[in-house]
Assembly symmetry: C2
């Protein structure tokens, strides 16, 4: 199949640190290439990929101080993608609502994976373009009920080889928190749980400009460097170390997060997750098997008492059966075929084989 | 001809107060309808027009406190325009670079009138789409030399009936300044000229949020309500009164303004303009005939001594011959035909007549 993968330009693919969407796009793209598809990745010029790279700008926008109007670069990217639409069987967009107003203008269908959330403004354009094919990254993500034409839910996957399974946590026991230091990720709640229970908490994650004040006024004063440690923005390797060594990872989100990669990253290392039962968490954590779903900080603290009864192997197994790159890629290949079939009447076995046969 | 006019959504068409682009779009649209063309105006829902109105939102975005992501509404508008592209012979965009990434995806050509300026970021997308047909609103506007495919310069026009000619200025002599109170429009320079020469200065214009501090810290302290008066944002009627009663209008811009409607509004009332010789001013003011072109505040103050030698009738005549809605509309009709001809080989006399024959 000739596939265009369209990534956000803010961060490179794959991202050096934090950047969930770009990570997923990178993994999917490379796996599609390995399966024999002809893939063009539209992304920042410093991206690394097995696919053909098409970049409107030489590096990730967030790293370029000269770039002020990000929207202009998105438009240039859309122009590049859709001018070449007839060179692709399918266009797969990861840029949210930005692609919606273009995809109706060309014959090649676009599948939109929703990575973000709905706002009052963007809901309007989603509704206007509701008949285009959408993929949700969790069933929970569909909750606002905008009437979108969802063709599938495809869970994010990770490269399990990059997360070494550890049958035992580190000798000095601690809890992990990995995520942006912003109110919706719940760093204050994680600290609260640690302080109430006496556990050591090791935190990692970036602080976005918009969250600087939240960090300096509310989080930083609670970091003592001993019981509550903050390691800043860490590399992949450091993150895997941090998660794998923990007795449990806390996922005390305060919003309906549509997925939450850190949960599967943690479980891949064998570390169970105690998460708030919000958004996708109930679809990702198997309650009582790979961690616990809770509804409050109280309950999170309480469940910690039982955490050693969770099998670390079960956590790993859950990821290997449900959240790998291979499973994710299977899901997207099926979605592409489904969309092409719905456009062209239905695909004969032969046409299907031809599309997949370029493998 | 079946014409789509695409206006910005920030302000309604025509604008109740300040809003140069929306004013010009409104005048052009109505005149095209009067000439028999079939025109659809894509604009905010509170717009008033002789054309068919197509609106993605019920009112001007600047007036709706619930609207946070303006870009989303632009995308919805582009989607509407370009989904219907085959219903038009020509699409005429006034929204700057926003339409560039769409116009290459459909068969109907888009003419882009440049109303704004080039920035380092938007220059990149203009260069990427340089082969599309552009109209400049002054020759000076082309100066950055991006290599764009300009098909014409069409000066902005006004409805001369809305600006009553006054053979004499008001009994109490004063100078006028009309424009946004922002550094690039030169309100401080206007005040400086007034203070040096002892003239009364009457100023009108809105203060944008971004200019609040400039206004309160630098301009407001100089307003004494007697020699230096500030009337706030005024209605059309008040503006015409203010300009028409003045002995001269000052246009002390500090940037290369691509047009400057207030110059023609002033001259239409018979009031000469003393303007900095920047941007389009040398194309709009006939030096020594309808006012003066100067290079400094000193020179502006000096030229005021000769201002009574300028014929007010000559000012009016200059507008009537060059800057009317009729002249502007002639210019755009010619541009549309030129673009259609370049797309379709060349237009036969018959095809041309057919296009214009819908008059």
């Amino acid at each position: 199949m000739r596939i265009a993968q369209v990534a956000p330009l803010y961060e490179r693919v794959p991202p050096p640190g934090y950047g969930g969407i770009e990570l997923v796009v990178g993994l999917l793209t490379d796996e599609l290439v390995r399966r024999g598809h002809e893939v063009t990745l539209f992304a920042s010029g410093d991206s690394e990929t097995l696919a053909r790279l098409n970049a409107v700008h030489e590096r990730a926008l967030r790293l370029d101080p000269h770039v002020r109007e990000h929207g202009i670069y998105e438009m240039m990217q859309m122009s590049r993608v859709y001018q070449r639409a007839d060179q692709f069987d399918i266009i797969h967009s990861h840029v949210g609502c930005v692609a919606l107003s273009y995809s109706g203008l060309v014959k090649t269908p676009t599948v939109h994976t929703l990575h973000g959330i709905f706002t009052p403004d963007n809901s309007r354009i989603y509704r206007q373009c509701a008949q285009q094919p959408f993929v949700s990254i969790s069933d929970a993500q569909r909750e606002p009920g905008l009437g979108l034409n969802y063709c599938s839910t495809v869970y994010n996957g990770i490269d399990s080889q990059l997360y070494q399974f550890r049958a035992e946590s580190a000798q000095e026991p601690y809890l992990a928190f990995v995520g942006r230091i912003s109110p919706e990720k719940g760093p204050l709640q994680a600290i609260e749980v640690a302080r109430r229970t006496g556990w050591t908490l090791k935190m990692a994650g970036k602080v976005d400009p918009v969250d600087r004040r939240f960090y300096s006024e509310q989080v930083e004063p609670l970091i003592d460097g001993v019981q509550i440690q903050y390691l800043g923005e860490v590399s992949h390797h450091q993150k895997a170390e941090l998660l794998g060594g923990a007795v449990a990872t806390l996922f005390p989100i305060t919003w309906r997060e549509p997925f939450g990669l850190v949960m599967i990253e943690s479980m891949a290392c064998g570390t169970p997750v105690i998460g708030m039962a919000l958004g996708a968490a109930p679809e990702v954590i198997r309650d009582g098997v790979t961690g616990y779903l809770v509804n409050s900080v109280d309950e999170m603290a309480e469940r910690l008492g039982q955490i050693r009864t969770i099998s670390r192997q079960a956590c790993r197994d859950h990821v290997m059966s449900t959240f790998t790159v291979e499973r994710m890629t299977d899901g997207y290949e099926a979605a592409y075929l489904q969309v092409l079939a719905s456009r062209n009447g239905s695909l004969t076995a032969r046409a299907k084989a031809a599309l997949m046969g370029q493998k």
